[in-house]
């Protein structure tokens, strides 16, 4: 077998393996979309095209009495937006200090911050819960977004990696023009770091939107809860009745905002993850 024929065969094999994998990755989503447009009577038919196409599931979802999906949607949006704002602000400030400014204890503090990535999340959950319950904030959304305003190792690390790639000459030039630290942060670094900020914004929003354990702890009961907890409660009710079509409509609605962001801003997802993984 010639070398070209061999390369072609390997290419074909590559496509085949990737295609089989891709089918496995995407089928659950297609199944979700397909089921959400089926009649309840057709919910277990094994065809991708609904035998009878219907929008009734979505109507039923929004008319559902025990769980108000518009309210859940609003709650999740507010929590995710506040989380994003908090993370962008506090992580970028810290990342700027760690990447640009020289000060005593910088390396030690940064190492300590990175160490927190290794602390399993649930270890901090109980004391945090106790404090928030003393403050009378359990049952409100405050415990879900307030911690985003005290920084985070992941976001700080991601932004610092990006800040380090910004040429030092810009700082020196700004210094000559008499710019102060906060001005250099706000006028030089933030505008140049838009791709990294976009990546962090997306990850923060996504993390808050998809979070389940913390909402289960802080806002466990309908009607005032998040989409994830609402869907879990809905799952119990719908599965008992064997009604999957409305459940799939709910699942679809809940992933739609992130899917839309992903299709338009895929670059930032990919670059953001790559940024945390390449350099140490």
């Amino acid at each position: 077998m010639g070398k070209r024929a061999q390369t072609r065969m390997i290419d074909a094999l590559t496509y085949l393996i990737l295609l089989i994998g891709a089918v496995g990755m995407v089928t659950p989503f297609l199944w979700m979309v397909s089921t959400s447009f089926k009649l309840p009577a057709d919910q277990f038919t094994k065809t991708f095209i609904p035998p009878t196409f219907t929008l009734k599931n979505f109507q039923a979802l929004f008319a559902y009495r025990d769980i108000s999906f518009p309210l859940l949607f609003l709650n999740s949006t507010v929590i995710a937006l506040l989380t994003t704002i908090g993370q962008l602000l506090t992580c970028s400030m810290a990342a700027f200090c760690f990447a640009v400014v020289r000060f005593k204890g910088r390396e030690v503090l940064f190492t300590l911050l990175l160490l927190t990535l290794l602390i399993p999340f649930h270890v901090t959950l109980i004391p945090n819960f106790i404090i928030f319950s003393w403050l009378g904030l359990v049952g409100t959304s405050v415990p879900l977004w307030l911690p985003a305003f005290w920084g985070g190792a992941f976001g700080t690390f991601l932004l610092r990696q990006y800040f380090l790639t910004i040429p030092r000459d810009l700082v020196d030039a700004a210094r000559v023009d008499g710019a102060t630290l906060p001005q250099i942060y706000w006028q030089v670094y933030l505008p140049l770091a838009k791709p990294a900020l976009a990546a962090l914004a997306i990850f923060s929003f996504q993390g808050a939107w998809n979070d389940l354990l913390r909402p289960l702890v802080y806002m466990p009961a309908a009607p005032n809860t998040t989409l994830t907890v609402g869907l879990a409660l809905f799952q119990t009710q719908m599965t008992r009745g064997g009604n999957f079509t409305v459940l799939m409509a709910g699942a679809l609605i809940s992933i739609l905002p992130l899917l839309i962001v992903f299709f338009f801003a895929q670059r930032f997802f990919i670059e953001g993850i790559a940024l945390t993984g390449v350099k140490r």
Binding site: M25, P120, T124, G151
Partner: protein
Amino acid sequence: MEAGLKPLGREKFWLWAMLTPTLFGLFFSAFGSLLATLALSFTRWDLLTPPQWAGFANYVALFKDPKYLTALINTVRFTAMYVPGVVIVSLLVAVLMNRGLKGISFFRTAYYLPAVTSAVATALVWQMIYGKDTGILNYLLESMGLQPVCWLCTDMALYSVTIVNIWGAIGEGMIIFLAGLTAIPKEYYEAAEMDGAKGIQKFFRITLPLITPSIFFQTLISTINAFQAYDYIYMLTRRGQGDSSVPVVVFSIYRNAWHFSNYGGASAQAIELTLIVAVLMGLYLWLEKRFVVYE
């Protein structure tokens, strides 16, 4: 790393002002909470009556609690399957995607989808797919003449749940590995080809050693994620009273704290899990020194 910008006069104030939220989070929320949990683990406390000193009673009770031991074993078994699964599959996918073929961006989007969407929503459709009498998976098995499987029954559920968790994590691993693969200088491959190296040889002699930093990073991240895995497990295996057909330690912590108001016992479980993670991290760092190649 170079020295960096020196704060002048009053700028010192701004420096620490900008660091304040992060320092608060670091010392109060992260390390402070860790210490608080440690202290709580030596008490008996339901949050309603004053806490009582319990010494090591909570830790001793852990080893007599069959529910907890089951959860611990499940967590270890889950981690032992999940971490290699994620690392191997996403490395394979990344290597195939890195061959520079056309149309790869389509595949990249497809593989990344589960990493974008919430585990809660996708678990709902997996519940349907795994359905014993009605799911498509058993439908496919039966149409191939095989016996249907009870995917979410007690003896199978751990494996089914692990598969879904790996499915959800491939996207991120793939991106980490792709970034690592594109960072390998092309000259290495060209030099190897001059010496007559074949595809497989190139993979084992160049790609694999030079990708070890990414493998190390991904193994570390996956291990931490494995010990915290909750969403899919909650959605696919939960029963009443905070119980589950595949209880893991996070489940057990949640159940003890928020169903039984046993905050001391839950804290002891959290601390013990942290210790296990810490030991594993130490092991990884030791392995890193021996096997990871940095240029």
